[in-house]
Amino acid sequence: MAILSPRLRKQLTNRLADLLLLGIIVAVLFPIVWMVLNSFRTNQEILTTSALLPRQWQLRNYVDLWQQVNFGLYFRNSLIVCGTTTLIVSLLATFSGYALARFRFPGADLFGLAVLGTQLIPGILFLLPLYVNFIFIKKRLGLPLVGTNVGAIVLYTAFFLPLSLWILRGFFAAIPRELEEAALIDGCTPFGAFWHIALPLARPGLVATAIYVFLTAWDELLFAWVLDVRTIPVGIRLYVGQYTNRFDLMSAASVVATLPVLVIFFLLQRQMISGLTAGAVK
């Protein structure tokens, strides 16, 4: 190295860095490419091939997924559960997040701490009593919370509210307070100042939070499984538990489950990143 001039050395390390980055990108992308490729193969080919590309690109798996596995139902359930949860959580988290960002009320610190504290409870800890409670409610009050989308929506709403309001709190806190104060002086009510001034300004945050909620709900398996809600992950798990080694259908199902997330990613990449990282940054 010593014989090389500093400029040459710098160029060399830069090329090496490019090469390393390329290697990482290939390694990171390979499993996804493999999943997509397998979804176009026949199961027979998956079990015998060593070739990278499918012998014949066929869409049979996707058709079978809908016709044999009833994947359309799971897909619809997932959309209903995640969509409704997202709407309710976004609305409620907006109110609470704003209150926590703007108002100094007694108990605000305790509330904020409790919001974060909920993240430390293992889901299984409250799943056990919730399961029995839900069965009790069904027996005594006739409200079907087990095995229905409603049960999942109720639970998911309560689960994702704390972190969502925490994300929104950050977005509201970043808005200059003076704008709302000016509105108050002009005769606006405090709620009006929130609704007409702060909320429109926090729209990027609202979108980010909504994406965060939707994707977290989309990825939820444990509660849906135990409460027998037929969302996509539960459907896949039920199916593959019955018919093992249908790798063709499993690949296709994974691709279909990934597609909505991919669409959100390409349409709203910036908001998706800010939502998912804001979940982690205070």
Binding site: L21, I24, L47, A99, G123, L128, P162, R237, T258, V281
Partner: protein
Amino acid sequence: MQTEREAVPAIQPKKKSARSSNLRSRLRSLRQNVARHRLAYLMIAPTVLAMLLVHLVPTVEAFYMSLLNLNQYTLGQFLAAPFVGLANYRFLLTTPDNPIVSGLGNAARNTMIYTLTVNAGTLGVGMITALLLNRSFRGRGLARTLLLMPWVVPTYAVGLLWGMMWLRDRGVVNMLLVDWLHLLSDKPFWLIGPNTLWAIIIPTIWRQLPFSTVMLLSALQTVPLDLYDAAAIDGASAWQRFRYITLPLIRPVVAIMLLWGAIFTVFGYNIVVMMFGNGGGYPGEWGDLLMPALERQSFRYWLFGLGAAASTMMMFGMMVLVMVWYRIFRTSLIQE
């Protein structure tokens, strides 16, 4: 510090006669407070209700359940099931040979190794990737977008996908290692035996890499460039610049990342559950984690009392972990 605190006179014990009027005035001020902050309380009310009904009440119920002999025979009585005190905890702590307890013990050990390895791996590889991205070159935006792709794959699909990739005979990992690259002469088992730990660790790092890369990259971009220039003039090597300039400045982000990474891995469920037997199998002694193990023991065998006791212990374990985390990163969090 300590002496200063002691120098402040302790609060005088209130006289008995003053107490009732004191209470009344306190009530009055409470009512005034509620009136003054009505909007704030109205706005947080739905969330408070949700947290009470779905977080607090079930958690308290679970604590109480952990003191009951709640199994398939007594489940109908629920909270009226026989009270056994700390017997569930004693059982978990003193009978390591019982198959259920040893199964949970294995899962606890795996969860610890998994949490440490995944987070160390994510941080290390994420740091390298972020540093590589934090240079100016053509196609930087494209490279970043491509590196984010594992993020769009739902975790249950990650488990399913890698479960297929790890298959001994037809899995692509062994194809790559043996048939294509000839790095190994024999195809190893990935989904049986101690290798299963790697089979769950590597996909999790793969899935978490985009998150840590994005976080670290945005942290790296906040470091003022003139600090590096000044250090370079002073003759600091690249490693020294990283160690003494970059690292201290991005420490708060690393702290937050590690906390969320710990929550994600300690409570990890989807990847493990979907990987073995394509979602229907037992992960085995070296592939099981606490969440899947607890779900299985509780709901397959209806051992709710024992499951609640083990879950409670898990929660205290998590709290200890967070306290350790807080002690390590306290200074950088306050600076922020």
